[in-house]
């Protein structure tokens, strides 16, 4: 499966590069409505045609990919750091502290995410720019997505605490921050790394779900969620092959993020 991993990495790098260069590659602004050409088929001017409002779909896919592909890893990083802090603290402390933290984590896991997101979003100031709103949306995703990873890290930390090499380190006089930083954190890295990569597609899909509900990124900024809303009309038979590009990209990116992880990292 090495070749699959290589292909996935190349694909993600190329796609990230393309969306970073969207300002140069996009033939039109993602917001501009060519009102004489709504729902147009692909042409030289519009490589993937236009959407319902006449906006260039290729440009919107590029900018939408930028939003989803860059902000989802940022949210995943935030969630992983929070999970590392909470999970490691619980694992290290043990006893009633651990029980309390894990009970709080379980409570957090039982919260209906989507409703919580919708509620928090409804409380945001109304005059936020689309960019600020998308940043907040992904920050919220990051703040809400740590709980499952925290449980894994807590369990791993407990195993580490009971391991022989930690016992040896303690016997050698290592304790406190030094013990944590020099001996435990390096051994937690594979787990954190795996949790980070696993979270990215989760956040991409969560944003897409919010977008499909019309509660994702504010117009006119595109994201995969808002681009996928076009497929709502597919059931009416008006769907065209080029409308599936965001969906294909979403599937390819989510699959690639899973393929990037090695077997060892997945089992970590």
């Amino acid at each position: 499966m090495r070749w699959a991993r290589a292909v996935a990495i190349v694909f993600l790098v190329v796609l990230s590069g393309a969306c970073l260069l969207a300002d140069f590659l996009a033939p039109a602004s993602y917001a501009h409505q060519f009102r004489d050409e709504p729902s147009a088929a692909p042409s030289r001017q519009h490589l993937l045609g236009t959407d319902d409002l006449g906006r260039d779909r290729f440009s919107r896919v590029l900018y939408g990919t930028r939003v989803s592909l860059l902000l989802a890893p940022a949210a995943a990083l935030l969630a992983s750091l929070l999970a590392a802090f909470v999970g490691a603290s619980a694992g290290l402390a043990g006893g009633w502290v651990e029980r309390c933290i894990m009970a709080a984590t379980d409570l957090f896991l039982s919260l209906p995410w989507l409703f919580l997101l919708i509620t928090v979003r409804a409380l945001l100031p109304l005059n936020l720019s689309p960019i600020a709103s998308v940043m907040i949306t992904f920050a919220l995703l990051g703040c809400l997505g740590w709980a499952a990873a925290a449980r894994v890290i807590c369990a791993d930390m407990q195993t580490l605490c009971r391991s022989d090499f930690v016992l040896l380190a303690r016997a050698s006089g290592s304790s406190g921050f030094r013990l944590l930083w020099r001996h435990m954190v390096p051994n937690l890295k594979p787990v954190l790394y795996a949790q980070f990569w696993i979270s990215i597609p989760v956040f991409i899909l969560t944003e897409a779900n919010l977008g499909i509900l019309g509660l994702g990124v504010a117009e006119p900024l595109p994201s995969w969620g808002s681009l996928l809303r076009e497929l709502e009309s597919f059931s009416t038979g008006s769907g065209h092959a080029w409308q599936f590009v965001p969906l294909v990209l979403l599937i390819a990116v989510v699959s690639s993020f899973h393929l990037v992880l090695t077997k060892e990292e997945l089992t970590a």
Partner: protein, 544 residues
Amino acid sequence: MRRRLACFLFLIFIALNATAVMAQSGGELRFCLHSEPKTFNPLLMADDASETIRYMTGGVLMRLNRLTQQLEPELATSWKISNGGTTISFKLREGLVFSDGTPFTAEDVAYTVQQLMDPNLHSPTGDAFRSGEGKVQIAVSSKNRVSATFPAPIAGLDKLFDQVAIMSAKSPQKEMAVLGPFYVAENKAGSYLLLKHNPNYWKHDARGRQLPYLDSVRLDIQQNRDLEMLRLKRGEIDFVNAIDAEYFDQLMSEKASMAYDAGVSLDSEFMWFNQVPTSPITAYKKTWFTSTNFRRAISEAINRQDLARIAFRGHARPAAGPISPANQFWFNAKLQAHPFDQKSALERLSQDGFRLQNGVLRDRDGHAVEFSIVTNSGNKYRERMATMMQQDLSGIGIKLNIVTLDFPSLIERITRTFDYEACLLGLVNNDLDPDSQMNVWLSSGDSHQWNPNQKTPATAWEAEIDKLMRAQASNLDSRKRKEYFDKVQEIAWQQEPFIYLVSKDALAAVSPALKNVHPVVLRPQVYWNIDQMSLSSEVAKNRQ
């Protein structure tokens, strides 16, 4: 001449025979409800599904013909309004019985009106009749004569009875005994309802055959519109009452004979600015929003033609005011939708001290003009309109932020906290009479959305609207009422507290197997003449 007469008689013969063939169809009509009916009590119905049941099962004293928009006698053969609009007297049809065989008398009408006005019942249908304090007086003078006297005059009193299904005072089946063309025979919660032909229905066709032609109506509970359309195409159901522009276009390309555009509907899409003095928005924005010039400028900067053409795929028309041309009597034909004119918009804004600097519109104090518009998430038409308005307004240097909220959050903001700047919503209009809009136009009304529940009118033009609305409500001369309401429409057009954007078309999908279908703009668009609808003999035979 004789030959012509012979031809004419022959054509009449053919037509009568065709009707007879059609009338023999029987069979089961099938369509979908999007939710379960919440009640079978016709006086308590407020949801769409319950109203569908009421329309098909309830017998009414008079019915508004959805095609001609004129009242026609039903259970009452005649009626008279007297005492300055407080009393209505009915002469009832004789010899009628409810679906369970209980005779229909004036006592039933008296019982229904009493129930309707019972404050403990909280009937939504009865709200329209509550014009003043006091009790309704009902007098039964004979088996077929009854009159009701209300405490205060009610404008359009007779038309309100279109919604009042008469209940039996004596039937052991209570509200399940009906006088309409069908009765509820089976109700499988969450799955379907089966209505069966009322054997005691009083109406007959021109050939003397008892109506309705259909044996039964099966109403499947189906929330998913995509599945509903698929079922229509497969021939499992016979019509979809209101369809999206996308579905309509698809049908036009695949099966044009199934697509019906009844023309512009009574519904309208509009936006308004928050003018509530106590709202938590910045003071300079309140100054913008209360300025007529500002509102008119925004209105002129929005391209309504494009909204109708692109957002609604051409199945909508630019709106000028609260009454669409579909409302034949109350529409003010003098008013035209404000044309798209950004130059004029900027001129109006300059009168209030706004100026365009480097593509950004600034007010007198240098604040960049930026505001947010809230709308409900999941409504693709409103989201499209808002996005198009965003581009239109950027043409005069205004930054518009679109905020889509879940419906409860939106309602919370526009009715309780007033924490919003502008709102884009639509009005589903079921009633032709402007009396149903009293709560919207009176400054004291809680649906006076831009500044509700005012103790005294905040502006001179709102005071004028109050006066005109009260005058039209207390006048019984329909011409005079129209004059008053025309003036209200003109003030609304001038001041634009609501910026009316488009009125969408009433679109429906109907199977070719369904006969005698004439979709109209008034609800219920497709099945308003359910008692005269029939199925093709082939389909009817398969569904016996």
